[in-house]
Symmetry: C2
Subunit: 391 residues, 2 copies
């Protein structure tokens, strides 16, 4: 039997924010929580010990990447993801669907599932709601996701509805298929519905009332303006059962975390904090700074005064500036640790604020102080990363 439980520790009286505790076979997670992403069974450049020290309580790994390399059967043979990666805390695996749908011309979709060609070697593969359950059982994460369909942004209402309805049918097939695998794994349902308020509500009700112990909200943060994502959450959250944890898939930035918690979200995962770190973007309470900038050349203080991360406690901003300019590997680690710690401290601060009953004040103060990356910078980044996608 699964040892998965979710308890609500506190709720904000003026928003939908809540603080909770999730139990999994590999440990406890206190929400709200940010989950660093280890796409290929490694959070890029960071060790498991460093993740623990940065406050990570659960990490995510990508089924799509791992089924292709090194293969889920091999990972099963080697004892599953925990043993393979030496990370002994909770792990969540996605379904691979999102990556397959990003492949565009390389995939073919049917009611049965998605046929696609590997971006690595062109080999042919098929994901079905059933095969995804087998693959995720082999990977052995604590929380797993079913195959779903993430509609493109923008898309027609007809496409949005068709993708949602198939996602619902696949959710039921996933629930049935999971029965034959590992009972200690917990299957979350995925809410879709693109950017159609009625579909979002319908999907939240449908998925929310299937026997999933937790819920992921998919299909957001796919290129739409932030305000549109937040609007969608306002339709979704009221329809969701209160007693299941809510995971906002693929989100996000510090400001996304702060706002979405107030819209009822408990769990977040995103490559953004580690990816922007590798490009020089480091988070501070005042906003994102670029460590490559000449102003850090001789800065003997840390990246962020008062930060308790390994990087800020031991290295000057000038040293990080030098390492990145010199192309030294150590930079990627130090920058990633800082941003991961920033996100996890932010999650812990949000939790403390909710418990103390002042989430809204915390949110407003944070947003007043924090300058997010401009839409233009975000658009440029998206373009660059899109070009590098799945390489």
């Amino acid at each position: 039997m699964s040892s998965f439980t979710f308890t609500i520790d506190a709720e904000c009286p003026d928003s939908w924010a809540r603080a909770g505790t999730i139990q999994t076979p590999h440990g406890t997670i206190q929400t709200p929580i940010f989950m660093p992403v280890g796409t290929q069974a490694s959070v890029k450049s960071v060790s498991p010990e460093e993740l623990h020290k940065a406050g990570a309580q659960i990490i995510l790994a990508n089924t799509y990447h791992l089924m292709l390399r090194p293969g889920s059967a091999l990972i099963a043979e080697l004892g599953g993801l925990h043993s393979f990666t030496h990370w002994d805390g909770p792990i969540l695996t996605d379904s691979g669907g999102f990556q397959v749908f990003s492949l565009g011309h390389l995939r073919k979709l049917s009611e049965e599932g998605a046929a696609f060609k590997s971006h690595l070697d062109g080999s042919a593969h098929t994901l079905t709601p059933e095969s995804v359950m087998r693959i995720e059982a082999e990977l052995g994460a604590d929380i797993i996701l079913p195959l779903d369909i993430c509609a493109a942004y923008p898309c027609s209402p007809q496409e949005a509805k068709a993708a949602m309805e198939r996602t619902h049918r696949w959710a039921e097939r996933g629930l049935v298929a999971k029965e034959q695998y590992r009972p200690e794994q917990t299957l979350f349902g995925i809410v879709q519905g693109a950017f159609e308020p009625e579909l979002r509500q319908e999907s939240a009700r449908f998925i929310g009332h299937l026997p999933f112990p937790g819920l992921s909200i998919g299909g957001l943060s796919v290129g739409e303006p932030k305000a549109m994502m937040w609007e969608m959450l306002q339709f979704v959250t009221p329809e969701l059962p209160r007693d299941k944890p809510r995971h906002l898939l693929g989100v996000g930035s510090p400001e996304d975390l702060v706002v979405s918690v107030g819209l009822g979200m408990d769990m977040f995962d995103c490559v953004l904090p580690t990816r922007v770190a590798r490009h020089g973007g480091l988070f501070t309470r005042a906003g994102r700074v670029n460590i490559k900038s000449a102003r850090f050349r001789a800065e003997r203080g840390p990246v962020e005064e008062g930060c308790d991360c390994y990087t800020c406690r031991n290295y000057s901003a000038a040293y990080l500036h030098h390492l990145l300019r010199a192309g030294e590997y150590l930079y990627y680690r130090l920058g990633s640790i800082h941003n991961i710690r920033f996100m996890l401290r932010l999650a812990a601060d949000l939790r403390a604020a909710i418990i103390a009953g002042n989430y809204c004040a915390f949110r407003d103060e944070f947003l007043a102080r924090y300058t997010p990356a401009s839409e233009q910078v975000r658009a440029e980044q998206r373009e660059k990363w899109q070009a590098a996608r799945l390489r």
Copy 2:
């Protein structure tokens, strides 16, 4: 005044091997010792804490690279290399000469010094025996080296002699210039003489009797067959004073370490262990293996059974194989830690053998068991690295 001392703890009765203890302002070094190289003020991908845990007692940094980026004045302003890098143990800086002479057409040599153009931006710089002392004082290492001339391999006896004689004049100028800088720094002399036995002897006598507290042997491991390097050491060592530590510059591989200790060498530095690690070459007692090889795909054991390094204690060879194939940064760290630990355990084993009086048996056993990289593999590597040189 310098707190530098060197004590001989044991000598091998059947070879020139000895075990010693060096005191420096930043700590004690037990010899024989391998010094990991942090070219640009970072041992690529490895943190100071990891270096300590792997047994590192002293690391090396490159004056040439650091004077160009971020600049020695800036490092001085930030408190010197120890504070800059967060490595609190002893540091040795080379003189920059070796890199300048590798630049070929980019440099111009005179009695005064070497004028060269930066490989980074083409800017003009000059190194003189005097300016090198200033730059190394700014960097602030515990052990520093004077400007020398490393003759090319092969070269004519005339070129060898001219390079050696200028090295000797520059050594004297370096000694004088150093007087005005930091007394806590220790200046080693550099023996040259290319591959001419008489010149090697002459240089060893000349440099050995100047008031240098330690000696580096330069101009070896520059492309010659290994047997030729060992032959040269047989001419050098008998001419050197017994009571000064001997550093074999830019050497080397596990087998180089084992053999050269018997030829009287105490200290070794080389990028080879970390560089080959990044390309997949990992050391074991049986020889170097390539972790990319298909035989490690499903290997649940560590890279080397019984190895006490962080990598081998926590990760399977299959995981390392996956990380390298997937291009994951974490691999570079894990591979480098293993090879550094291998070199440092080997140095510690050599020391124990010398103290126990069985160095020669240890050496013979090691060499019988250890298959070095073939001359062909070494030649191919050299070519590839030469092409990437100073990039």
